[in-house]
């Protein structure tokens, strides 16, 4: 019995030591991460990993199951300019910032609106796209309502959890009820079914939904709210990455490539056959 006990003690000591040792090595890697820019990591790996979540037309699956959209175009162009391959890592929107911080990918290029709250956790590049939010309303339920009328206890809004429209609706229409869903399809469906009066999302999503269901849905106000601009999001304490992405965006604003691509996905409908 004595021997087993001593043996057990030994095992415990080894286990504890290995745990503290492994923690020491983790601390080491995170220090290295701070000292070494993600740009270097990308070059060494030969692959840039881009985190994104799907929403039309930023990024979506086409009929062949491949990723298409504005973000994949931006990602491919960025990778081509860096001389590396591109890999997209689809990630749930609600967990996309923690995943970036945990190092699952190098940068988020997913139409993320620059907000002060997010900026506390991650760094943002200059905006590479500007898209405002619009209201998509159930026509029958909101007939004759002015914008102020939406701020009422009788009005129900829907939005995608964790996305900017949720915060915006809470601020702009504090009295209205707000239902949150995991993705845009469900929040639109609630409006279609008449369980909610309206939803908000970034253009051209709402206009498209209104076009698809002209007898039930419409975009009542020709106003783009909260046009804050979307930026690449990256981990903090990485000035090199911030500088690189900013220069890249500035350069392609200058050449007009960003505007051209943005217009293709956001203003036109030419890509629609690819997806549905």
């Amino acid at each position: 019995m004595n021997i087993t006990r001593r043996l057990l003690g030994g095992v415990f000591a080894v286990a504890l030591a290995s745990i503290s040792f492994s923690q020491a090595t983790f601390a080491g890697t995170s220090q290295q991460l701070g000292a070494e820019s993600v740009i270097e990591t990308i070059k060494k790996r030969g692959v840039i990993k881009i985190g994104l979540d799907l929403f039309v037309p930023w990024s979506m699956r086409d009929k062949n199951g491949d990723l298409v959209g504005f973000e994949p175009d931006v990602g491919k162009k960025l990778a081509a300019d860096m001389g590396v391959e591109v890999e997209f890592v689809p990630t749930k929107w609600a967990g996309i910032i923690p995943a970036l911080v945990a190092g699952k990918f190098d940068v988020i290029i997913s139409g993320m609106t620059v907000t002060p709250a997010r900026n506390l956790t991650v760094n943002f590049s200059e905006p590479y796209a500007f898209s405002g939010l619009t209201i998509l309303a159930n026509t029958a339920m909101t007939e004759g309502m002015a914008l102020e009328d939406y701020n009422s206890e009788d009005v129900t809004f829907t939005c995608r959890r964790g996305a900017t429209p949720c915060v915006f609706i809470q601020n702009k229409f504090p009295k209205a009820k707000l239902l949150m869903f995991d993705e845009d399809g469900a929040s639109t469906q609630e409006v279609l079914n008449g369980n909610a009066h309206a939803t908000m999302a970034s253009e051209p999503g709402p206009s498209q939904d209104a076009r698809r269901n002209p007898e039930t849905l419409n975009v009542p106000f020709n106003i783009a709210f909260d046009a804050g601009g979307e930026g690449f999001a990256m981990r903090k304490s990485d000035p090199d990455a911030l500088a690189y992405f900013n220069s890249w965006i500035r350069r392609h604003n200058h050449t007009g490539w960003l505007k051209k691509t943005h217009d293709y996905w956001f203003r036109g409908d030419a890509w629609h056959d690819q997806v549905e």
Binding site: V56, R61, D62, N64, G65, K92, A102, E276
Partner: protein, 290 residues
């Protein structure tokens, strides 16, 4: 068919009629309230499709997801079985510390919602393990190799390997607690006298387990274990939350791309049902034979 009709009493027909009437009512109500444009004809393309670029048949998003779900379930259940057997034996150990550690692990897992467990394991355990073993660099190396067909067959796209690993680990650790309980119950169902007899004819505790207890316990363990395996397949949908690209995750992707909410989710439900129900029938048959 005639026999079936003869077996049924008129009351049975009444009950059946009521059930059918109820569902018809629900369906009519639903289609009245539901403003939805059904597009079922598009679904088969998202399972299997002729690629317009590559000119070949390929598994589209839903089938890709299904394959990953199956892969994750198989690996996770093997791992869960190993952990679970160790845990089960530890629960019956003579050593108090071992017994208490096993009990603590079990009680913690059993009394925290699976979703929370998955997040905790993912960020605090799987992530650290993947970094410590530098699995990521290794899998990128394999992904670039020429003859990596074997790896691709077992693990899918090697660049997604770390996410597969974390999914499998997280799921296995979570399920191992329940497998452990099944194993413990099996071991304890063996009469004490048998174990004492084994020791008295000079078997070591390992031999006692190997030759006396486990062979008998296995028979009792099999049915609940099969059930647990089916539960594991269903539970695997939770790991979509840590962005493992399995069936549930792929369905969510399809929904956000095409807004075919109901078709996509109903198809996915059918996939899960066919697999789980099929396995359940298979296990029942197996049990009857042994």
């Amino acid at each position: 068919m005639e026999k079936l009709f003869k077996k049924l009493h008129w009351l049975d027909f009444l009950v059946l009629g009521c059930v059918i009437a109820f569902f018809t009512y629900v369906f009519v109500q639903m289609s009245g309230n539901l403003n939805y444009h059904w597009r079922w004809e598009k679904i088969p393309n998202y399972i299997f499709k002729y690629h317009t670029g590559r000119e070949e048949w390929f598994a589209n998003v839903l089938l890709q997801g299904l394959i990953i779900t199956i892969r994750v379930s198989i690996y996770a259940s093997i791992l869960a079985l190993i952990f679970g057997v160790i845990l089960g034996i530890a629960r019956c150990s003579n050593n108090l510390v071992v017994r208490m550690l096993a009990r603590t692990y079990l009680e913690i897992l059993r009394n925290i919602p699976p979703l929370v467990v998955i997040f905790i394991f993912y960020f605090f355990l799987a992530e650290q393990l993947i970094q410590a073993l530098s699995i990521e660099n290794w899998s990128y190396k394999v992904a670039k190799m020429e003859n990596n067909n074997i790896w691709e067959f077992f693990c899918g796209d090697m660049r997604r390997f770390p996410s597969l690993v974390s999914g499998v680990i997280v799921l296995a650790l979570f399920e191992s607690a329940f497998v452990g309980e099944i194993v413990r119950a099996g071991i304890q169902s063996i009469d004490r006298g048998q174990r004492e007899a084994a020791r008295s004819i000079g078997m070591s505790s390992f031999q006692e387990m190997r030759y006396i207890v486990l062979p008998q316990a296995m028979k009792k363990i099999m049915p609940p274990m099969a059930n647990q395996f089916i539960t594991l397949i269903k539970d695997s949908s939770i790991i979509s939350l840590i962005s493992v690209q399995e069936l549930t995750y792929k369905t969510a992707e399809l929904v956000s791309s095409t807004h075919m909410i109901f078709e996509a989710w109903l198809t996915t439900a059918a996939f899960y049902f066919v697999i789980c129900f099929g396995l359940s029938l298979f296990f029942t048959k197996l049990e009857r034979r042994t």
